[in-house]
Symmetry: C2
């Protein structure tokens, strides 16, 4: 069954294809009588006409598609949310999303960009699944938005999570519960992700504001990808003498927080009564299923995906053209934070609590 073409509608309505096009596209300024318009619309409905997007795209040079190239989509639970955000926004604006996943292979990436450009996408989104700084790949069209990464040359709009604000919220949560000895369970990688530095910065700032000088021993590291590494790092923390031992841990991510739980449990420590924990990422399957459920900071992947698509389509202006947009990371309060154990002695070198 062949597709219905515009000429079929024209024949059915007894007018030219020009008229059909003019009517169906609601071209204001086109002088077509209301009577004819009605007849055309009726005919189009009867024969079930929908315009061929390819033909239209060739003529108008706009395809109503947006290309999204990303590095890894399979191995992260975040990808779906990011895609969903971008796709929802695209759909709301009558656009389709073409997805290419490069597995971080430069050759594939180059081909993908070219294929998308050849397909005449109206805009492009370049996404990574981990917040980082990237070299701008060759061949990217002007209308490109960076998603969860920042181009080294800040030439195009970009959106990344507001890691500093997120980190502050996490540490403040612990501070507000009364903790003074707060550890930072960092990620240990040869090339640390930008999130690590930013969250650490937040950690230091907030403690400083509260008049706390963190004990260097409170800064521990795990590989970031396994709970086991979080457990090992936490063990190092719990091995500290009582007056230096942290009563709370801010973890780089939920998986390592899960390791902190294991370490605590193996020593008979209760969470949160004996040890408070805050994670990052809000990985539902980890944070929500831990016992007790983990308080954490959510990464706003859906919102970032949406933002990227809206900016790519010109439906939203980036507030500061040359700066990446910082998407807020909301805190998700569950049950892993409480006040520190009453018996906890004040740290030896601890300043008096002068919080206003």
């Amino acid at each position: 069954m062949a597709r219905v073409r515009i000429s079929d509608v024209a024949a059915a309505a007894g007018v030219s294809t020009s008229t059909v096009s003019l009517v169906l596209n609601d071209r204001t300024g086109a002088r077509i009588s209301e009577e004819t318009r009605a007849r055309v619309r009726e005919a189009a409905a009867v024969v079930g006409y929908t315009p061929n997007s390819i033909a239209r795209g060739l003529r108008t040079q706009r395809t109503r598609t947006i290309g999204l190239v990303s590095d890894v989509i399979a191995t992260t639970p975040f990808a779906g949310r990011m895609l969903a955000g971008a796709q929802d926004a695209a759909r709301e604006h009558g656009h389709l999303l073409i997805l290419v996943n490069t597995d971080a292979d430069p050759a594939v990436e180059r081909d993908a960009i070219r294929a998308l450009v050849d397909h005449q996408v109206d805009a492009m989104i370049f996404a990574t699944m981990w917040h980082r700084v990237v070299e701008t790949p060759e061949g990217l069209p002007d209308r490109t938005v960076f998603l969860d990464c920042r181009p080294a040359d800040g030439t195009r709009p970009a959106v990344v999570p507001d890691e500093v604000a997120g980190g502050r919220a996490a540490v403040r949560e612990l501070l507000a519960a009364g903790h003074r000895r707060i550890a930072w369970l960092d990620i240990d990688e040869p090339d640390p992700p930008v999130a690590s530095g930013l969250r650490h910065q937040a950690y230091r700032e907030v403690l400083a504001e509260a008049g706390i000088t963190p004990d260097p021993a409170w800064h521990v590291r795990g590989d970031g990808t396994t709970a086991a590494s979080g457990r090992a790092a936490t063990d190092r923390l719990l091995d500290l003498p009582p007056h230096r031992r942290p009563t709370a841990i801010f973890c780089f991510n939920d998986r390592m927080a899960a390791g902190a739980y294991v370490a605590a449990r193996h020593r008979g420590l209760e969470i949160p009564a004996d040890l408070s924990v805050v994670g990052y990422d809000d990985q539902q399957l980890v944070a929500g299923e831990l016992d007790p459920p983990l308080t954490t900071i959510a990464l706003p992947h859906y919102e970032m995906g949406r933002w990227a698509a809206e900016v790519a389509l010109g439906a939203r202006e980036p507030p500061e053209p040359d700066q990446p947009y910082l998407m807020p990371c909301p805190i998700i309060r569950r049950d892993s934070v409480s006040s520190p154990p009453a018996a906890a002695p004040t740290p030896a070198g601890g300043e008096p609590d002068t919080t206003p």
Copy 2:
């Protein structure tokens, strides 16, 4: 900077556009001298020509795109793997994947299908994130493949996980470790997923083969979405009198298996020494991070995505045209299965172990 067109190549090489097209597409049978061919290729490379896919698509009626419409992509960790499989296969065949996620909204679904058809996709994949039977939506092109779902009228190729084989592997694993009292922690839903029935069927068959008549009390249920429900169901199992109490549990999914861990731990039971557990789904963040890591059955989402794209592109024939293809679910052996506790008494009504 305007795109390079075929006419630019033609001008640079001093030939007609026809010749350029013939050469660049390697049309066998076209009589073009080797000398001219070289000149054209050279010119194309120099000016950096890549064909405009839209123009080509209009003429050839093939767009080298494949449309994928799915219900929920964001809220499941499986989606990524499925998309990755489909997308990898598409890329290997020079195709692009256009993704639409309908959130199971019928109106959105209808619009999405129409938009994809209007975009002249060469083939379509209709995917769901949970194995189920669906009514064939209106307007789907002939070249449609169903992914992780089966059309009620078996008119088109479909691929689903081989739940029965997976379930058998799980129960056999337990049997092989020496268990005789094996529970089935089912999912409890008003409209139970097809996976539930199929895995239960596998459970009964394998036990029957081993000459075991399962105690009805071994069939318990949880809501399937939370670990808490798995814990409650497991508590019911562990409350059974010692001679009826199961030594192993086959869980509908990993999340409920996580709940089983919690229940066991709260009674001071060790896994796997006191209780063996097998899950289903292989959700990395759950199964891999439990302590001890969970033995489970993996859902082959990547492979199914790949299969669907290959069949959609005609690169592979479905072996049985009218039957859904059953993709094997591999068992992932970790550390949650061991032989039953030595003290475990033989079930009261237990048959002698006659396994060959």
